[in-house]
């Protein structure tokens, strides 16, 4: 077991008074945003139930699902590797990179590669790995690790980021504005992207029936990092497997809302096989796609208290909500994944039996988990395992169970202690547990009353049956709605049907798009400077508009003021546009211009993700649901548009 002392680390973390206040407040703010988001989803509870069941179901035939995934992915031209542990995964990635002579690698946010220590492994072999997610980029520059699995730099203030960037010459000294800091990082990272020889990503979901890896993100760095370099390596835990697109629809509805309070993240991208293999991709350069499926202790979790955590979709909300995490921060856990989910995964996967004690077992995490993992229950059960295996102590005075198990002796004994109050009090105050409880005099021990409740009961005069007994009663039957915890919000009505009228769908789309930071525009608003992809030019021509052909070489696209492309359809409830890139000259076109204009025929509008996936035929090599411009909130949770991709997204609905 590690030498790390979580008790000391927490105590140390708490000493930074101002930091604790800021961190706690920031995450509390996030909680509020999330609550508002799920309040708009009447079927939230039903979704949680389904998600919990479907993740459990896939594990019942885990190896079958894995084999299915492998078959489909390989048929689409991907190379599938299985890694038993971190070392194997690192070696596989290293070998693939070596085969291509790739020395400059861009990596998008992936907790799995953090878990493997992939960066360190590759750096030691002369490969430069740059984390391109803004939060991870900052953390990497500081030589730290992410403190939160969704917002890796939430522990840092804008001043700290500003100082770092100034020191590295990325921004002017004294700069603390999140927007300007973000744009400084964007500038630096754009060069890294253009020079990258391989892109590594994680995956949020692996679709067994489709052989697809699905990545959700807000910044567009992942899509960019897989669009420019010729090699794309996906490193994902086998717990990311789900059956297929129906399950994906359920999980996507939960993930972003729970993680960030968004209806869906900016880019939800699925990859099936390498670019250049799809029927509509003739002419695109051929690429390679590798998928590394990592076990690293995941199979071993089955049959332990950690098993339910294999359902986790890494929304990170249990960290955000946790009253302990909010006060001590992720680094105090010294674990790849901190917070409640880390306490459940840590013992089984990394032998971190010290983590389960770092909880007040308040149960908030269990209540809010979008896939209904009973995190507090699992933490409780891990404590028992830890003690049974002599990996942790209970922290209770010895013989407590013995004393409490002999009630009469206990009552007699405590009566004796009362009678010898002064002496026994002095002795009890020396008891290590009670001494610790006082936290050096910060907290007073309770006064011991002269008589215990039982001793009173023994001699008490029975209360006369009063008027109370005849007062009118009003027994209340609590409904499930009454019993909901505050964090769950009011219990919503039954599952809503899709709005019947096209106008209602349009209203929903407009609202969702605005929420995501996109803008509904008229075709006449299209500036002359905007260039257009092939299919978009054809459509514009029908409306009597002509635009120049958009470039497709990345270096020509970089800095382009505006680009106009064609989206297949819209999803009203999430405000998304579906791009399958079939008629685009390159995926990078969607990201490298300063502003993106998407044309979409009016009739092409579906209600929600279920309808979206139902409408979709076989998944394209790469398809993405774009929702708003590229954005980030990695510096003090301030939303900044244009993290990597377009700063503005204009949607033009054409008849």
């Amino acid at each position: 077991m590690s030498r790390f002392d979580v008790v000391a680390a927490f105590a140390k973390a708490l000493k930074r008074e101002a930091w604790v206040l800021r961190h706690d407040k920031a995450l509390q703010y996030k909680r509020e945003g999330r609550a508002a988001a799920i309040a708009k989803v009447p079927e939230w509870e039903a979704l949680r139930e389904r998600a919990s069941a479907l993740k459990r179901a896939v594990r019942e035939d885990w190896d079958g699902a894995l084999a299915r995934f492998r078959r489909r992915a390989e048929a689409a031209g991907a190379e599938v590797h299985e890694a038993a542990d971190a070392a194997e995964a690192n070696a596989i990635v290293e070998a693939v990179l070596a085969r291509h002579g790739a020395r400059r690698v861009v990596k998008s946010k992936s907790m799995t590669t953090e878990e493997c220590g992939l960066n360190e492994h590759l750096e030691q072999r002369g490969v430069t790995v740059v984390d391109t997610d803004l939060g991870e980029y900052i953390v990497q520059l500081l030589g730290q690790r992410p403190s939160h699995i969704v917002t890796p730099a939430v522990h840092l203030s804008r001043q700290e980021v500003g100082e770092l960037f100034a020191r590295l010459g990325l921004s002017a000294p004294g700069e603390t504005d999140p927007t300007r800091l973000t744009l400084a990082a964007r500038k630096a990272l754009r060069e890294v992207f253009l020079a990258a020889e391989a892109g590594i990503t994680g995956a949020n979901f692996l679709l067994a029936d489709e052989g697809a890896a699905v990545v959700v993100e807000n910044e567009g760095n992942s899509l960019l990092g897989t669009s420019l370099p010729p090699v794309h390596i996906v490193v994902a835990g086998i717990d990311k497997l789900v059956a297929g697109r129906d399950d994906l629809a359920v999980l996507l509805k939960l993930l972003a809302r729970s993680a960030t309070g968004q209806r869906i993240t900016g880019y939800t991208t699925s990859y099936v096989g390498p670019q250049g293999r799809g029927p509509a991709e003739r002419g695109l350069p051929a690429r390679e796609l590798h998928v590394v499926l990592l076990d690293n202790g995941r199979r071993r979790l089955r049959g332990t208290p950690g098993e339910a955590a294999l359902s986790c979709i890494r929304c990170g909300h249990c960290l955000t909500a946790c009253p302990v995490f909010r006060r001590v921060g992720g680094h105090a856990y010294d674990a790849t994944i901190p917070g409640p989910i880390g306490e459940v995964l840590g013992p089984g996967m990394q032998g971190r039996f010290d983590l389960p004690k770092a909880s007040s077992l308040c149960g908030l995490c269990s209540t809010i988990c979008p896939v209904k993992i009973d995190l507090a229950g699992a933490i409780h059960d891990w404590r028992a395992v830890a003690r049974d295996q002599r990996k942790a102590k209970t922290g209770l005075p010895p013989g407590l169970g013995l004393a409490l198990g002999r009630p009469r002796l206990f009552w007699w004994g405590t009566r004796m202690l009362r009678r010898t109050g002064r002496l026994s009090g002095a002795l009890l105050r020396r008891q290590p547990g009670l001494r610790r409880f006082t936290a050096g005099g910060e907290r007073r021990l309770p006064e011991v009353p002269a008589r215990s409740f039982r001793d009173w009961f023994r001699v008490h005069a029975r209360e006369p049956r009063g008027a109370l007994a005849d007062a009118p009663k009003a027994p209340v039957t609590m409904t499930p709605a009454d019993l909901r915890a505050p964090s769950e919000g009011p219990l919503p009505p039954a599952t809503p049907a899709a709005p019947a009228t096209p106008a209602a769908l349009e209203r929903e789309f407009a609202e969702a798009l605005a929420e995501a930071g996109g803008e509904l525009r008229h075709v006449a608003d299209l500036p002359q400077a905007v260039t257009a992809t092939y299919a978009a030019r054809a459509l514009l021509a029908r409306h009597g508009l002509e635009r120049r052909q958009a470039p497709h070489r990345p270096q020509d696209l970089d800095g382009l003021p505006g680009l106009c492309g064609l989206a297949r359809w819209r999803v009203a409830r999430t405000g998304s546009l579906w791009l399958d890139f079939a008629d685009w000259e390159s995926r990078a076109q969607a990201l490298l211009a300063e502003e993106l204009w998407l044309l979409v025929p009016r009739a092409e509008l579906v209600w929600d993700l279920d309808e979206h996936f139902a409408r979709l035929g076989p998944l394209p090599t790469c398809g993405t649901l774009v929702t708003g411009p590229s954005k980030t909130a990695d510096i003090e949770l301030a939303v900044v548009k244009g993290a990597h991709g377009p700063r503005r997204l204009h949607v033009v609905v054409l008849p």
Binding site: T394, R443, R458, L468
Partner: protein
Amino acid sequence: MPPRLSLVIPVYNGGPYLAESLAAAWAWLEAWPQGTELVVVEDGSGDGSRAIIEGFEAGLPGAARARVQVLVNDGNRGKGYSVRRGMLAARGDLRVYLDADLAFPLDNLPRLVAALEAGADVVLSSRTHPDSEYLVRCDQVGYAKRRHFMGRVFNWLVRALVVDGFGDTQAGQKGLTAAACARLFPDVRLERFAFDVELLWLARGARPAHRGGAGPVLVPRGADDRALLRRHGADVPRPVPRAPARAPGPRRRRGAGRRARGAMSRLALFAPCFVDQLWPEAGVAAVRLLEALGHEVALGEAACCGQVLGNAGDRREADRLRRLWAGAHAAFDEVVVLGASCLGDLRAGLGGGGPRLSEFCEWMLEHGPARFPKPLRERVAVHQSCSSLHETRTAAHLRALLGRVDGLEPHYPARVDECCGFGGSFASTFAELSVRMGRDKLADLGVVPGPDTDAGSAATAPPARVVSADCSCLLHLRGLAPAGARFVHVAELLAEAAL
């Protein structure tokens, strides 16, 4: 004409079943073919037994009332005193005294009387008689065995030191003739425990006199009590005598609770170990409320549900304590638990079966008044414990209950579901963090100014008190609050509004 048979019942804190016992004894006497009399000695009970006895007497027809003597001791004088007083005041030729809880069944009496009729001066029931059997609930076998063993040890000492020949001197059911009473009882000096031994010792000393003439015979001797009881027991088919099923509540004389048995719904209150020891006011208020509502309340003989051990990882001890808890409450129909965290653990650990478990607020909402009679005009800050929010979901009941008190202004903190930082062993393992969380909670409750409180502004006044349904949180918060801050369990608040 003096009655032929007197039954003497000493009563001390007779508890919920006293009325039932008296009625049963009276019914038995009514059915007896000869003249009978009932003598009840009230030994300064503190629990309303006297009212029950008086109620019983008042309920009898006028003629029958003449056959009942109620003697009231000035204060609690002890069982020995009471028995002596009753046996001497009785007028029957044959006098039998028995425990008020009817621990020895009434259908054993014909054999005792038969033995007296046959010429014995003193007859005693015995639990060591070969025909004797214990009727004991299976989960109480261990208890009964221990008790029996202790009884044997005592008996061995008695036989070795005082008086030999009796298998069981302590059984609370003995019969004497009027003559034996007059001769023996005036000399009984012991007024409490072991007066029986003294009685038998006196009887033994007087034996030569008893042997002669009309042949008062001290029955058990040599072949001990068995021979005679067997002789006279022959015409009664069922085995003699037997101890009844014991409800697992504490025994009346030693434990704090009262025997719970009989047909009516049996209700126990469980005040968790920390309430029992450190916040008795909550238990007291709960008992008073339940009793004022007309319910009989008993306490099960368990100190702790085991949650504290389970939460800290000691699964085996936690399971053991939970089993003990279940055994101690198995005879009840319903247990009201004073606190959500223990209840949550019990519900999760026990699964189905056993008594119905209710959190105090749940129970009060169902059985309590729709409005509490007295208004409480004050602003209270409400702390909803995490277990009540996330586990038992009884926070809703707390909120509803507070709404039934007129004038009360509940103030809910902004972070309504924030943990106060107690968390059992967490509070001492991560003491600094626990203290920090507690201080934040106090600030949010308005008890102390928080980091965001604007010192200059006239913010809303601090609450008069903080109320919660969980004393564990309250104990921790009280330890952190300034000296003047007041914390109450919801039962205390409701008792103020009700009584």
